[in-house]
Symmetry: C2
Subunit: 248 residues, 2 copies
């Protein structure tokens, strides 16, 4: 991997089934974790349905704004799988059945079963690199800064593993978490705001969760300099300890 | 609820913690299900970080395009909770501490504990209706067609229950699922495409999942006319039965 200061990305999830609630997305969180770990900053996510104009508009909005755009969904053999054509149109390139993709499909499908629908899965925009997957063989593809992956989580994950070593990555975002327990956010918010203002290079967040009728709060310090993150986290730990003591 | 032909919505999820992968969103799927059930068509979702300009841009893009915009996240007492101010700015209205919101907070917080940070949770854009929640008392709000809710799932769900009876809803999207089992998508894609083309008022999708090394496919017919949905589903059931028989 090559390293530069900051590399950004967006995710575009494509599929009516996510918007209807039928399918619960499991790719956004996975890709978010993955990108954070390798040093790419995820900045935006969008979900759109299986509507060509919507996909084209979202692809163009996101690919022009971030270093990478990862898409999931819509690359199977059925009529509602329109991602490849939409991406080709968004980029203004042609698309046709790719012999390299046919070869991959033939590793899993018998030649006599390679019907028109299955050949659709080999439609690849001109100029794209294929992204193999170990699971179903039907490839994703990478064109310009757009990385087109399957929606089925196991297949998407296999594709992401193939792509990751080739991505340009930046400094990794490091995170340190301080448990505030049942100390209410309102008790430490002012001190935390002062610390955040004094540390513009860090991102400091307070995250409540609600279990068994009570809040359980965590404070997270994120940044790219390990020492800065550590110093801020230590000072938050001291703050939390002091406030907890005062409450007893 | 009032009923009109088609009512549309978008969701805007706000929070660095979703983009970093630290927190896995559980609100999108919940709201998607909820809206589908009450007859509102979710058309788009976006996730942005705790960055005012990003929130404003997304709020304006989505509220002008859909009948409703639901936001989650960023309405707590800490410095990274900037949703209320960003929404006020997006709509070009003022914002200040709202006495109605203070009253709600005082149901949970002692007057002597109502510090500056907690008073932040009572900052409400001018002209907004409050959305109460049974859990933490800190309200969300509804202004114009923008519905601003908490990010903590239990609280968001409580707010959505308060809002739902007041929403204008349309005809419900009905869905019927046909299990295709291990019948591969490529085997039925052509017939399904023909059926989809002949039924422009229906949305027909094929959804593979991958378990134990095999695909398990489901075909879903969605539409607002119960009879049309039923007829299409029956014809897909017959198709699947025929193809499964041919394969034996």
């Amino acid at each position: 991997m090559t390293h530069t200061a900051s590399v950004t990305a967006a995710i575009l999830v494509i599929g009516d089934e996510i918007l209807s609630g039928r399918t619960k997305d499991r790719n956004i969180g996975y890709i978010a974790d993955y990108l954070t770990k390798i040093g790419i900053d995820l900045r935006e996510v969008r979900v759109v349905g299986d509507v060509e104009a919507e996909i084209i508009a979202a692809v163009n909005a996101l690919r022009t704004r971030y270093d990478y755009l990862f898409t999931t969904g819509g690359i199977g053999p059925t009529h509602d799988d329109i991602t490849a054509d939409a991406v080709a149109r968004a980029l203004g390139v042609g698309i046709s059945v790719d012999p390299r993709a046919i070869s991959l499909l033939l590793e899993r499908i018998k030649p006599e079963d390679l019907n028109e629908a299955r050949r659709r899965m080999a439609r690849i925009p001109h100029g794209a690199e294929l992204i193999e997957n170990e699971i179903s063989k039907a490839p994703g593809f990478w064109i310009s800064n757009v990385i087109v992956m399957a929606g089925v989580p196991a297949i998407m994950q296999s594709m992401l593993d193939k792509v990751a070593p080739k991505l340009v990555t930046g400094a990794k975002m490091l995170a340190q978490t301080v448990a505030a327990g049942e100390l209410p956010e309102g008790a430490y918010a002012a001190d935390l705001a002062a610390l955040a203002e004094a540390s513009p290079e860090l991102s400091i967040g307070s995250y409540p969760s609600f279990r068994d009728g009570r809040f359980h709060n965590e404070i997270v310090v994120r940044g790219k300099d390990r020492e800065q993150v550590g110093v801020a986290a230590a000072s938050i730990e001291a703050l939390v300890a002091r406030l907890l003591k005062e409450r007893v």
